[in-house]
């Protein structure tokens, strides 16, 4: 159990004290990694409208009830504000780039978010090609293709499909036409191993910095996975990966899938959508795009915390005018070993995802 102390915390940016002494003989029995925990936070009013213009001081973060200091702050595609230094850096408060000062909190107009707000995000699309999806296959492809086209400003997109096995049809790329090619090149398969495939996708996303999301398009029932959704959820939470789930009506007829879709997405800071037809599917994709564009990105260096198991994160809004709004983000993370988050790709040059 002692060895847990040597594990790499992966939530997700490393500023490892050990890294600076690479090559030196490490004689310490306990190795400590200083990590930066990154949170993607959606703030909405009672009607679901996004609230923009909040400032770092509007957020209060605790980890296992221990107050944490925000290290970096970013809204949408605005420049990153560094509020406290990383290890070895002088303390300062800076605003990177040439962004304008933060504005008072306002309700978003509801108009389509500008592409700039999506900048830096990486999106993985995971498409169910099992026989469950057969009838709606081509409509789903249309919706996904529209979604891919709409992701202007997003850094890179990957398109994976799954039935019994995962297919990395288009590894992470900035070239949208390659992604569209992957979408239109899918073939219908057999069983559905959603959670196995989602696990592999989370692991591919794990090494990426910044905002990262997995958009799952599924019919719901899983009949071939050997990992349970609990383990996938924990890994997504611990690697700061948001999971959005879009499912057809069939998933809602399966109470297990419905429950999992809602809870997995909620736990990771995402949302679940149950689409009755292809129009609903398009609306769901549009909603995800909006959500990604309106996320606040906050990070902190965890204060000393002896807990080597699950760490609960709580984010609250501070300020009399903003406490009424709702906050959505992941609710914690677990310390992980490097082996748990190494990409599962077999690593051939043609197919391996390219970490940032």
């Amino acid at each position: 159990m002692r060895r847990v102390a040597a594990l790499c915390c992966f939530s997700i940016l490393f500023f490892s004290a050990r890294a600076r002494t690479a090559g030196q003989e490490d004689t310490s029995p306990i190795r400590v990694n200083v990590v930066l925990v990154q949170l993607n936070v959606a703030v909405t009013d009672g009607k679901g409208n996004y609230i923009s213009g909040l400032r770092p001081e509007n957020f209060a973060i605790t980890e296992d009830k221990i107050p944490e200091k925000i290290a970096t702050f970013e809204e949408g595609g605005e420049p990153i504000q560094r509020l406290i230094p990383g290890p070895g850096s002088p303390v300062q408060m800076v605003s990177e780039g040439s962004g304008t000062p933060s504005q008072p909190a306002v309700q978003d107009s509801g108009e389509s978010a500008p592409a700039a707000r999506l900048s830096g995000a990486n999106v993985f699309i995971l498409f169910d090609t099992s026989n469950y999806m057969y009838r709606g296959f081509v409509y789903a492809q249309d919706s996904i293709a529209d979604f891919v086209r709409s992701l202007e400003g997003v850094n890179k997109v990957a398109f994976y499909s799954y039935s019994r096995d995962l297919s990395r049809a288009t590894p992470l790329t900035g070239d949208r036409s390659k992604v569209l090619l992957g979408v239109r090149n899918t073939v219908a398969g057999d069983n559905a191993a959603l959670y196995n495939s989602l696990l592999l996708t989370v692991k591919d996303a794990a090494p990426l910095k910044g905002k990262k999301a997995i958009v799952v398009f599924s019919n719901g029932p899983d009949d071939a996975s050997s990992v349970p959704p609990e383990d996938v959820t924990e890994l997504a939470q611990s690697t700061g990966t948001i999971i959005y789930m879009i499912s057809t009506q069939q998933a809602q007829n399966d109470p297990v899938s419905e429950a999992v879709f809602e809870r997995v997405s909620k736990a990771t800071g995402g949302k679940a959508y149950f689409a009755r037809n292809w129009r609903d599917e398009r609306k769901a994709f549009a909603s995800i795009r909006e959500d990604l564009a309106h996320l606040y990105s906050l990070s902190y260096y965890p204060a000393s915390n002896p807990n080597r198991g699950w760490r609960t994160i709580n984010v609250k809004l501070v300020g009399k005018d903003v406490q009424k709004y709702r906050v959505r983000t992941r609710d914690g993370y677990r310390l992980l070993q490097t082996a748990q988050v190494n990409s599962a790709s077999t690593g051939s040059t043609e197919t391996q995802s390219a970490p940032e």
Binding site: Y134, V138, A145, S177, Y195, V227, P228, A259, A344, S348
Partner: protein
């Protein structure tokens, strides 16, 4: 809706077999220098549209040559095309696709190119494709959206370049797409097949349409495609295709070994067996048409099964088994179980048990079947059977008057019709293998035979240890059985489960260390018994803890002479023997880290913690004040957390499978020894507390086994922390469960609320069970390919169970040289007819005649480069070894590689010893040879079977390690690097396999060679130039980099 659309590669059962002929044929004519080339297919049939699209729709690998298109289409039609006599969605979709393709073909015109000048010009094309434009032409950001889902599905599923079209439409630009039709070869002639089809089912179109809608024709087409050219031509002449239609099903399963040459059937056993076969079949081999028809018709196909099996075994076995009286009596025995249902009623072919028996049957000095023990004991064994197998009862009755081993053989052949993993036939095979491995003076005693037979049904999976380690004597066997019985009899289910787990885990650790050569032969018996004996009497958890620790100590003493190793020291032992080279030490550290990684991710308690806690509690019971020392340890133990639940308890009750249970893990969560330590409880309470450590100890010991056998690319081992703890040793999570000693099986797959998959059963065959689960996390690299469930676990086990710590660079070099010698001999055969005949004699042992015929013809046409990539490494290795043995003079003068072998042999004879190389680079054959010992059996690639024989195909694939070893040698890696390279390269190979059916070993070969090529080019394994190693002495010295796959 859950209908199977198409057989996405190798997803389930199939009927296809490889073509092979009687070995004797080859000696007669197959490679004769003047043999005329087989007639090429005289006709072709046009497949509309790009072949790649058609193959996608037909569920056929897109890497096959054109001549395999129609046979594989026919095969998929038989397997997937019908359900209860109704055409399935699979057939409907191909049919629709062909119509769409013909429409597009018309659009493409004679130029075979679909062209549109601009957006407006594309209306017809878009309509055929089933799409429409979202906006009128000319508008920005235009896109195609589905208009007709049926057509649109065909468009995308067949791989039409829709995105290119969309881009052109958006820009109002021209679009062009080369849309060729493809002519693929037809067996015989198209009219021959169209004529024999049912007029009722005859439709417009060509032979492809006939195959799609007339499954009788499809079945016969599939069957004839597996038969060699000369035999097929003879059958077409007489009795003719039309008369073969009624026997097409039998022919498809069991006809591929039929071999007609010069107007006679070459029967198994050769001409000496003609009379016997005439008697059995009712027609002479000299009347091929009659013989073939009778053979396929008689006894509902069961005589054809018998013939097929005999034709697949080597010539020596054939000669013995087809002696006139024996041939007839054995078939009578085989037939005694009746002829209903017929031999083609199942989706799989029959005969796997008989094939294993005839392949592995041993003979005594007098030429009689070998009998472990004696006939009297075998009479007892038969009489003790409690099954309702009538022939078994008949033979048991007759056994009292048995005089000859042949009578036992007949009974065993009768039992080959019973599908069972513990029949007298299985007992015989297992005991034969144990005796085969032992020296003559150490054969099983009568008492040991009785013990093994009487306990076979329960413990057979564990008896493989006795064939793998012949050093274990009869006492070791009987003590194992006695103690296992004792563990089995523990009444408390939880205690029994923990005892079973700890007992089996320690014996499995013993096997790992013995296999790695870390337990000296002389100490095997004593250390085995030291591992077994402590479990003889367990009635409480604290006893179990002591027993498990003592047993582990026995294993450690055997391997390291010290029973008190720390966990790190034990892990170091398991990782491999100490290394004395920098590369060896680096690889050893890597293996240590891998084991630790699994133990961490499974959040298992350290042995050191458990033993320290145990000792401390004992001390406390004697009054020592050691609480302060123990509290942190108890805290460590209490640290384990279950994954955060996403289901409520009531949801789990409603949604999880009834059998689901995490009770074992939940008990551990509740275990908190801090209270008892703080309160300094009574001696009895402290003893109880010690007992609470037993489940933790079980899990850590089991976890060490899981970690050691981690398959490459494993995910569950690292991401489901309950996986090891959930192992159910006593079947308590099953309704009506009982202690299992058999191979573990995977449960809980696809049960979303069930907490993840887990294993039920023993630790025997654990590597295979882990590979079965982890293979689902390999992502295929080809669109539409799936991971080949029936084969991949064997591939993974074949690369992870063997370790290469004790292999010398000379041995590595020898295995590469032998393969190159084999290739060199083939190349030399181009201009040397005499050599080709000799090559044929050697290769006929392991290559089916249809392929041998192709090799001969290709060499005769001076084209060796076409052959070499399609030769299995196991074939070229065998050719090198066996040619050297049979024709030493010819071998020695055959080229520089042969000279290098001879030079290496002169300097280090052991390094070129085929038996040693077989142990170094072989694979385990637990089904075929009842052992996990590594070996090369040099058999023809076996066909696919169901049930008991499902693993035979995978076990007969022996090329992987030979090929990786050759690569390693040629790229300058030391042998220890194979500990990493073999599993990793196998993983890459597996992801590349693009097969159509479950006997598609050429697809495996393709994937292996592609992987090897990428490895050579440095695309798979960035090599660290940091270290170089000067390797080998003898032939050329090379400075080479070491490193490996990242």
């Amino acid at each position: 809706m859950k209908a199977l659309l198409r057989p996405s590669v190798v997803s389930a059962a199939c009927l296809v077999s490889l073509c092979a002929c009687s070995v004797s044929v080859l000696l007669d004519s197959a490679l004769a220098a003047d043999r005329p080339a087989a007639a090429p297919p005289s006709q072709t049939v046009v497949i509309p549209g790009p072949l790649r699209s058609f193959l996608r729709m037909a569920g056929v690998s897109q890497k096959i040559p054109p001549d395999e298109v129609l046979p594989l289409l026919a095969r998929n039609v038989i397997l997937r095309g019908y359900e209860n006599d109704n055409e399935t969605e699979f057939l409907i979709l191909i049919d629709r696709y062909l119509h769409q393709a013909r429409e597009l073909q018309a659009l493409a015109g004679p130029a075979q190119e679909i062209r549109t000048a601009n957006c407006a010009d594309a209306a017809n094309l878009i309509h055929i494709l089933g799409y429409q434009l979202r906006y009128p032409c000319g508008q920005k950001n235009n896109a195609l959206v589905t208009a007709n889902p049926e057509r649109a599905f065909l468009t995308t599923d067949s791989g039409f370049p829709l995105t290119t079209l969309e881009e052109a439409l958006d820009k109002d630009a021209p679009f062009s797409y080369y849309y060729p039709s493809t002519a693929v070869p037809v067996l015989f002639s198209e009219s021959a097949w169209v004529q024999i089809g049912s007029p009722r089912k005859r439709r417009e179109g060509n032979l492809a349409d006939v195959l799609l809608h007339d499954r009788d024709v499809a079945r016969l087409y599939s069957a004839m495609a597996k038969i060699d050219t000369e035999t097929a031509a003879s059958l077409v002449q007489a009795p003719g295709l039309g008369k073969l239609i009624p026997v097409a099903a039998v022919l498809n399963f069991y006809g591929s070994q039929l071999c007609i040459r010069s107007g006679r059937v070459n029967v198994p056993g050769g001409p000496d067996a003609d009379a016997g076969w005439t008697d059995l079949v009712g027609a002479s081999p000299r009347s091929p048409a009659d013989f073939a028809t009778h053979l396929m018709t008689k006894d509902n196909g069961w005589l054809a099964v018998y013939y097929d099996v005999l034709a697949r075994v080597d010539l020596t076995q054939q000669k013995r088994l087809t002696q006139p009286a024996r041939l007839k009596h054995l078939y009578e025995a085989y037939r005694s179980a009746g002829i209903d249902p017929g031999a083609t009623r199942s989706v799989f072919r029959k005969g796997s048990e008989l094939l294993v028996l005839f392949t592995r049957l041993d003979w005594d000095a007098a030429g009689q079947p070998y009998v472990p023990g004696n006939l009297e004991i075998w009479g007892e064994i038969l009489n003790n059977q409690k099954n309702a197998f009538k022939p078994g009862r008949d033979y048991a009755r007759r056994s009292r008057s048995w005089k000859s081993p042949d009578q036992l053989l007949e009974a065993l052949v009768a039992y080959a019709r019973l599908e069972s993993d513990s029949s007298p036939l299985q007992i015989y095979l297992a005991l034969t293998e144990i005796d085969r491995a032992r020296p003559p003076k150490m054969r099983l005693s009568d008492g040991a035979v009785r013990v093994l037979a009487s306990k076979y049904a329960r413990y057979h999976a564990w008896f493989l240890a006795f064939s793998e380690f012949p050093e274990l004597n009869d006492t070791a066997i009987t003590r194992f059985v006695t103690v296992a019985d004792s563990v089995d009899s523990i009444s408390n289910p939880a205690l029994r489960g923990n005892a079973l787990g700890a007992f089996q885990a320690n014996l499995s650790l013993w096997q790992i260390l013995a296999r790695q050569g870390e337990i000296p032969s002389a100490q095997m018996n004593s250390s085995w018994q030291a591992a077994v004996e402590p479990f003889a009497k367990i009635s409480a958890s604290n006893q179990l803890f002591d027993a498990a620790r003592s047993s582990l100590g026995g294993v450690m003493i055997g391997a390291a002479g010290n029973s008190n190793l720390s966990q790190d020291e034990l892990v170091s032992l398991l990782a491999g023997p100490p290394q004395n080279t920098p590369e060896g030490r680096r690889m050893h550290r890597e293996m240590v880290a891998k084991i630790h990684s699994v133990l961490e991710d499974q959040r298992l308690a350290s042995l050191d913690t458990l033993f320290a806690l145990n000792d401390g509690l004992k001390e406390m019971a004697h009054g020592a004040k050691v609480g302060d020392r123990l509290l942190p340890l108890a805290g460590d133990l209490h640290e384990f957390e279950l994954p955060r639940p996403i289901f409520t308890e009531s949801e789990k009750i409603d949604w999880a499978p009834v059998v689901y249970s995490t009770r074992h893990a939940e008990l551990q969560i509740r275990t908190d020894l801090t209270k008892i330590i703080k309160s300094s409880g009574s001696p009895a309470q402290l003893e109880t507390a010690r007992g609470q450590l037993a489940p933790f100890l079980r899990d850590t010991l089991v976890g060490l086994n899981y970690a050691y056998y981690e398959p490459p690319g494993a995910q569950v081992l690292h991401n489901n922390p309950l996986f090891v703890r959930s192992h159910d040793f006593s079947g308590i999570t099953m309704v009506g469960g009982e202690p299992f000693w058999g191979a573990p099986e995977l449960f809980g797959v696809g049960a979303t609320a069930g907490g993840g998959a887990y294993l039920i059963g023993s630790l025997a065959d654990l590597p295979y069970a882990l590979a079965t689960m982890e293979e689902d996390f390999i992502a295929p690299e080809n669109v539409q390919a799936l991971i080949w469930k029936e084969l991949v676990p064997d591939l993974l086990v074949g690369s992870t169970l063997p370790r290469w710590w004790n292999v010398s660079p000379d041995e590595l070099h020898a295995v590469a040289l032998y393969q190159r010698c084999g290739e060199g001999l083939l190349v030399a055969g181009v201009n040397n007819a005499e050599l080709r005949t000799k090559l044929g004699q050697v290769l006929s042992d392991r290559i089916a005649p249809q392929r041998l015929e192709w090799i001969d013809e290709t060499l005769a046409h001076n084209n060796p480069n076409e052959i070499l990539p399609r030769m299995l490494p196991s074939e070229t290795f065998y050719l090198g070894v066996e040619f050297r043995r049979r024709f030493p003079q010819d071998f020695a003068s055959s080229g520089s590689d042969a000279a290098a072998i001879e030079a290496l042999g002169a300097r280090n004879p052991a390094a070129i010893d085929p038996e040693r190389l077989s142990r170094d680079f072989g694979v385990p054959h637990p089904t075929l040879a009842h052992t996990y010992g590594r070996d090369l059996l040099h058999m023809k690639q076996l066909p696919a079977f169901g049930g008991y024989g499902a693993r035979l195909f995978g076990e007969s694939w022996e090329s992987g390690n030979l090929y990786w070893a050759r690569l390693a040698d040629e790229m300058g890696y030391p042998p220890v690097m194979l500990n990493r390279l073999a599993p990793e390269l196998t993983l890459h190979m597996t992801a590349r396999i693009f097969a159509t059916d479950i006997e598609d070993w050429p697809a495996v070969l393709r994937a292996m060679r592609e992987t090897g090529e990428q490895f050579r080019q440095g695309k798979l394994a960035p090599v660290s130039p940091a270290t170089t190693v000067s390797q080998r002495s003898g032939d050329s010295e090379q400075e080479t980099a070491t490193g490996g796959i990242r």
